[in-house]
C-alpha cells in the first residue's frame, strides 16, 4: 500500500532537483510570514480604514448608516481588501502541510480544514466586502438599500459560524489524534474555546442591543479577543513546527499526483 503522500514524497525519483538544505523550507516560511503580513493589512483595512472592527452600531439610524457606508475611507479599504485577500489562503497551505505530517491522521482532516477555510473566506470576508463596496460605489442608492447592505455586511462578518466551526473542529481533532506531537495539546484546547466563542455569536441574529448584539461585549469583543489569542498561539506553534521539521522529510522536487 503506497497510499500516503508522505511516502511518495520520500521516494527519490529520476527528475529530482536537489535543493540546497537552507532552501528546503523556503516555501513554508513564505507562507508562514504571509500571516503577520496579512493580518497587518487586515487590521489596517478593517480597523483603521473601514471602521468594521469594532463594528458600527446595529441600532444606527438610516442617516448614520448612509453616512458610514458612503465614506471614502471605506471604499479605499475595500479596494485594498480586494487586493490582499488572497494572502489568507497562504496560511492554510502551510497549516495543511504541517497537519499532513501528523502521525495517525490521514489526509481527511487536512483536506477538511482546507475546504472549510475555502468556504469560510466567502461568507466571512467576501460578502461584507461586496456589501460595503456596493454601498460605497453608489451613495445615491436609497437609504433602505444602504441599510440592507449594512445589515448584510456586518451580520455575515460576525455571524457566519458553521464554516469556522468545522475548521476549528477538524483542527482540534487532528491535534488530539496526532501521536507525533506536531502541535502541542494546549493549542487544541485553545481551538475548542475559539469554537465555543463562534457559538456564542449566535444571538447576533436575534438581538440588536446589549452584550450579544453584533458589536456586543460577548459576541464581538470576547470572541475577537479569543480569536486574536488563538491566532498568536497558532503562529508560535506553527513556527516551532516548521523549525523542528527534519530536513530529510522534505520533498526534493517530486510529488505524487
Amino acid at each position: 500500500m503506497i497510499e500516503s503522500v508522505l511516502v511518495a514524497e520520500q521516494r527519490p525519483s529520476a527528475n529530482v532537483v536537489a535543493l540546497p538544505a537552507r532552501n528546503r523550507k523556503l516555501d513554508q516560511w513564505i507562507c508562514y510570514w504571509s500571516i503577520p503580513f496579512f493580518y497587518s493589512a487586515f487590521s489596517l483595512i478593517f480597523v483603521v480604514l473601514g471602521g468594521i472592527m469594532p463594528p458600527q452600531s446595529p441600532t444606527a439610524s438610516p442617516a448614520e448608516i448612509v453616512a458610514y457606508i458612503t465614506r471614502p475611507d471605506l471604499s479605499v479599504g475595500m479596494a485594498l481588501l480586494a487586493l490582499t485577500l488572497g494572502l489568507a489562503s497562504l496560511s492554510s497551505g502551510v497549516i495543511v502541510v504541517q497537519m499532513k505530517r501528523m502521525e495517525g491522521v490521514s489526509p481527511v482532516l487536512p483536506y477538511a480544514y482546507l475546504a472549510a477555510l475555502a468556504v469560510a473566506g466567502v461568507p466571512g470576508c467576501l460578502f461584507p466586502a461586496f456589501m460595503f463596496s456596493l454601498g460605497a460605489l453608489r451613495p445615491d442608492y436609497s437609504a433602505k438599500i444602504h441599510v440592507m447592505l449594512y445589515d448584510f455586511g456586518f451580520l455575515s462578518f460576525v455571524g457566519s459560524l458553521g464554516c469556522f466551526i468545522v475548521q476549528y473542529l477538524v483542527f482540534a481533532i487532528a491535534i488530539f489524534l496526532d501521536r507525533r506531537g506536531i502541535f502541542p495539546r494546549w493549542l487544541a484546547y485553545f481551538t475548542i474555546w475559539a469554537l465555543v466563542t463562534e457559538l456564542v455569536a449566535v444571538p447576533v441574529w436575534v438581538t440588536r442591543t446589549g452584550a450579544f448584539a453584533w458589536n456586543g461585549m460577548l459576541s464581538f469583543w470576547l470572541g475577537t479577543a479569543i480569536f486574536v489569542g488563538w491566532e498568536f498561539s497558532l503562529c508560535i506553534c506553527l513556527h516551532r513546527a516548521i523549525k523542528d521539521q527534519p530536513l530529510g522529510e522534505l520533498a526534493q522536487g517530486a510529488t505524487s499526483v
Binding site: W186, Y189, F190, I192, W193, V196, T197, L199, V200, V202, P203, V206, T207, T209, G210, A211, F212, G216, M217, L218, L222, I226
Partner: protein, 173 residues
C-alpha cells in the same frame, strides 16, 4: 487538562461579567424574566450533577486503588447522571419555549439560553470525555490513572460551573 479547565473557568467568568453588567443596568427587566424560571428544576439539575460528580470522584479513588471494575461502574453511573441532566434540561427548555419566552423578548432570556446552552455543550463534551475514560478502564489492560483523573477533573469543572450558573440565573435577586 488543567490548562483547559482554568482557561474555561475564566472564559465563563467573562460571561458572568456581561451578565452582571447588563443586569445592573436593567434590574427590573432581568428580575421579571427570572421570575418565569422554575427554581425547582434548577435544584433538581444541581442535585443530579452533584451526584454524578460524587460518582466520578469515587471512580478516581477506585482507579487509584486499582479496583478497575468498580471504577468503571462508578464512571458509568456518573455518565448516566450526566445524561439525565441533559434530559431534564431539554424538558425545561421545551417548557420555557412553548410558554413563549423567546430569547429576544427578555434580555434575561438571551443570557439564560446562552449560558445554559453553553453549559449544555460542556456537559456533552464532558460525557464524551467520560466515555473515553470509561473505555480506558474497560478496554485497556493497564488503565492510565492520569487519564481517568483528567476526565474526572473536567467533569467536576462542569459541575462547578453549573453551581455558579444556578446561583446567578435562578436565585440571585
Amino acid at each position: 487538562m488543567w490548562f483547559f479547565v482554568i482557561g474555561d473557568l475564566w472564559i465563563f467568568a467573562c460571561y458572568f461579567i456581561g451578565y452582571s453588567y447588563d443586569r445592573a443596568h436593567d434590574a427590573s427587566a432581568f428580575l421579571d424574566g427570572q421570575r418565569l424560571l422554575s427554581p425547582g428544576m434548577g435544584v433538581l439539575n444541581t442535585a443530579i450533577l452533584l451526584t454524578s460528580s460524587l460518582f466520578v470522584a469515587l471512580c478516581a479513588q477506585a482507579t487509584r486503588a486499582g479496583d478497575i471494575t468498580i471504577a468503571s461502574r462508578f464512571i458509568a453511573l456518573g455518565g448516566t447522571c450526566g445524561a439525565a441532566f441533559l434530559v431534564t434540561k431539554v424538558i425545561e427548555w421545551h417548557a420555557e419555549v412553548s410558554a413563549g419566552f423567546p430569547p429576544s423578548t427578555y434580555p434575561f432570556f438571551t443570557y439564560y439560553f446562552t449560558l445554559t446552552g453553553l453549559h449544555f455543550l460542556h456537559v456533552l463534551l464532558g460525557l464524551l470525555i467520560l466515555a473515553l475514560g470509561w473505555r480506558e478502564l474497560r478496554k485497556s489492560t493497564k488503565p492510565r490513572a492520569e487519564f481517568v483523573e483528567a476526565s474526572a477533573t473536567y467533569w467536576h469543572m462542569v459541575d462547578s460551573l453549573w453551581i455558579a450558573i444556578f446561583a446567578a440565573l435562578y436565585l440571585m435577586r
